[in-house]
């Protein structure tokens, strides 16, 4: 007659029922207990989703603006500090290269007209090829051409912001604008768009475009230190990069470390590395938050075990085995933590959706983050519930019943 009946599945279903009724029975306390887990998981979900969204948006715009281009920055050697006009023309003549557009920046220029002036305006020198390959940049008026380039003409294109600042109610085309005291003829209006160079992400978009030769003259320089190479059709970035490197090695007499060629692949890799580091960092922060949450759960479970001593004794008297008592408390802390985790996932997604709307980044639900939050909260329930459940199961039924 006395054979041990061991059917855990009967127990497990019942444990879930009892646990839910216990958790529901002390709503306020359960809520406060899971708050730690909830906030922890919410933070993880929000951070990961938001970082993913931001990185995704940045990567997307990088890729769209940089398709088919290489960015070269020149540090130069003792003999040769940058690229001359002839050097650039030589590069542009390469089979793998469609064209080259130098960028010569005049930062913090003082721009004035009449009584108005603005400091710290970003002025950028471009060549004619830039306008040929980015025709949509010019909104009105004309682009800069080879004649402007060769003559180092004092002509410029300005953006909407400059119109607002200096040409309120006036058609700017044909008017003069003073850059560092020199009068420039406004020949056109341009709009910054996604075809801007990658550097503009970090340096800010220029408000005024002038011939790069003019910009060099204003900087009292003869050589270009930053330019974009447009690759010929059907050429991989590796082929183009190799060709440009070979040509530039000759120009710099094979001295080392004179220039850096950045391809989109490299930028993509960098972004991925950055994203990986971010995620690791966030995971670190998250584990601390979840650890704190877990301690909260453990504390609550230990209190519960003490409070329910009589119940535990009673259940033992009614034939509950140690593992059955342990399972019940384990399931209770597991459920408690999981409820917190699920609420955290929900709130986290909601919060990151709002954030992505506010910041204008893409909202991408990260399955990884959800699984992480889910898994973490479940694991924490079990890990931090283990000791209290063990304690409950080891309670001597006599001691437990004596407090009746």
């Amino acid at each position: 007659m006395l054979k041990a009946i061991k059917r855990p599945f009967v127990m497990i279903g019942e444990c879930f029922r009892m646990s839910l009724s216990n958790i529901w029975g002390s709503k306020v306390r359960s809520f406060l207990t899971v708050l730690g887990i909830l906030i922890g998981v919410m933070a993880v979900i929000t951070l990961i989703t938001t970082v993913n969204g931001v990185t995704g948006s940045i990567t997307d715009s990088f890729l769209s603006m940089g398709a088919g281009t290489l960015t070269v920055s020149v540090t130069g050697s003792d003999l040769k500090s940058g690229m001359t006009k002839a050097d650039l023309e030589e590069l542009a003549a390469l089979e793998e290269v469609e064209g080259v557009t130098p960028t010569v920046s005049i930062n913090n220029a003082r721009v004035s007209r009449g009584g108005n002036y603005e400091n710290r305006i970003s002025v950028s020198g471009k060549n004619a090829y830039y306008f040929l390959s980015n025709e949509e940049v010019v909104q009105r008026g004309r682009a800069l051409n080879f004649i402007d380039e060769d003559n180092m003409s004092y002509v410029c294109l300005i953006d909407e912001e400059m119109i607002e600042d200096f040409f309120f109610g006036v058609d700017p085309v044909g008017e003069n604008l003073y850059i560092n005291g020199i009068p420039f003829l406004v020949v056109g209006i341009f709009s910054a768009d996604s075809t801007e160079s990658i550097a503009s992400i970090f340096l800010g978009s220029p408000s005024i475009l002038i011939p790069y030769t003019t910009a060099l003259k204003m900087n009292s320089a003869n050589e270009v230190t930053s330019f974009t190479v447009y690759m010929a059709e059907g050429v991989t970035s590796e082929q183009a990069s190799d060709a440009v490197e070979a040509a530039m090695d000759v120009m710099f007499s094979f001295e080392e470390d004179c220039f850096t060629i950045t391809t989109m692949d490299a930028i993509e890799n960098t972004m991925e590395t950055m994203m990986g580091m971010m995620t690791t960092l966030l995971a670190g922060i998250a584990s601390i938050a979840l650890l704190v949450g877990g301690i909260g759960i453990m504390n609550m479970m230990l209190t519960t075990v003490t409070e329910r001593t009589v119940e535990i004794g009673l259940k033992k008297a009614l034939g509950a085995r140690q593992w059955q008592i342990q399972l019940q408390f384990l399931i209770e802390s597991f459920l408690l933590s999981l409820i917190g985790g699920l609420a955290g996932i929900g709130l986290g997604l909601l919060l990151s959706m709002i954030l992505s709307n506010v910041m204008g980044t893409t909202f991408r639900i990260s399955t990884d983050a959800i699984l992480l939050g889910f898994g973490f909260s479940a694991a924490i329930g079990i890990i931090f519930g283990w000791a209290p459940a063990r304690k409950a199961s080891k309670l001597n039924p006599i001691d437990a019943l004596r407090s009746m």
């Binding site: 054979k3 019942e14 216990n22 033992k316 009614l318």
Partner: protein
């Protein structure tokens, strides 16, 4: 039914109280037949609750031999003791000790859960047992919706639902008024007539007199009392 349900020989029980060992049970010898109805009568502190805990396998003796239906209890592991509690013994406590968040049926089902009985079978047996103790119309009530007597009936149903060899009752009428107490005693008598063994622990001579056999326990020493009310 003349087979022996359990036999205790020279049972001693010591408790550590600070530096001293306190002897709670002294050379207790007791033998119960299947179907017997026994009262253990003694004042508080006499060791009667300890005796009940040892009979019910909640506690083990310090020395002596306790054999329950061919099982030598001293040799058993904690898990085997739980099996005995689950199947051979049914407890009824003074304050019924129902779980407040479960209704009557689910309270009665509790021991069956630990015995691994399926949901459908559990509910069937719990309802049957509640019907037997006269609570057919109180199945879905929660403990706080039941009177003291009704709560104790639920506790009795819970103790009997696994069909144990013996019902162990510790002051089952202690928290009840006289009239309700009498009804519970009537129920015990009926259950015994149906063939269930009952051991009832009490400090009240009048309650003890309901049993067919009474033993006295004073300062841990057990003596046969002999006097019975209705035998």
């Amino acid at each position: 039914m003349d087979s022996v349900f359990f036999r205790m020989e020279n049972i001693n029980k010591f408790y550590h109280m600070g530096d001293e060992d306190m002897q709670v049970l002294k050379d207790v010898n007791l033998e119960i037949q299947e179907g017997e109805y026994l009262s253990v009568l003694g004042p508080s502190g006499s060791g009667k609750s300890t005796l009940m805990n040892i009979i019910g396998c909640l506690d083990t003796a310090t020395s002596g031999q306790y054999i329950l239906r061919d099982h030598v209890i001293e040799d058993m592991t904690e898990s085997e003791l739980a099996d005995i509690r689950s199947q051979a013994v049914g407890f009824v406590f003074q304050n019924s000790q129902l779980l407040p968040r479960l209704d009557a049926v689910r309270n009665v089902e509790l021991p069956l859960i630990y015995a691994g009985v399926s949901q459908r079978e559990r509910t069937r047996r719990a309802r049957e047992m509640l019907d037997r103790v006269g609570l057919a119309d109180r199945m879905g009530h929660y403990p706080n919706q039941l009177s003291g007597g009704q709560q104790q009936r639920v506790a009795i149903a819970r103790a009997l639902v696994t069909n144990p060899g013996i019902l162990l009752a510790d002051e089952p009428t202690g928290a009840l008024d006289q009239k309700t107490g009498k009804q519970i005693m009537q129920l015990f008598r009926e259950l015994n007539e149906e063939g269930r063994s009952i051991i009832m622990i009490t400090h009240d001579m009048n309650i003890a007199a309901n049993a067919k056999r009474v033993v006295h326990i004073i300062d841990g020493v057990l003596t046969e009392g002999g006097g019975t009310a209705d035998a």
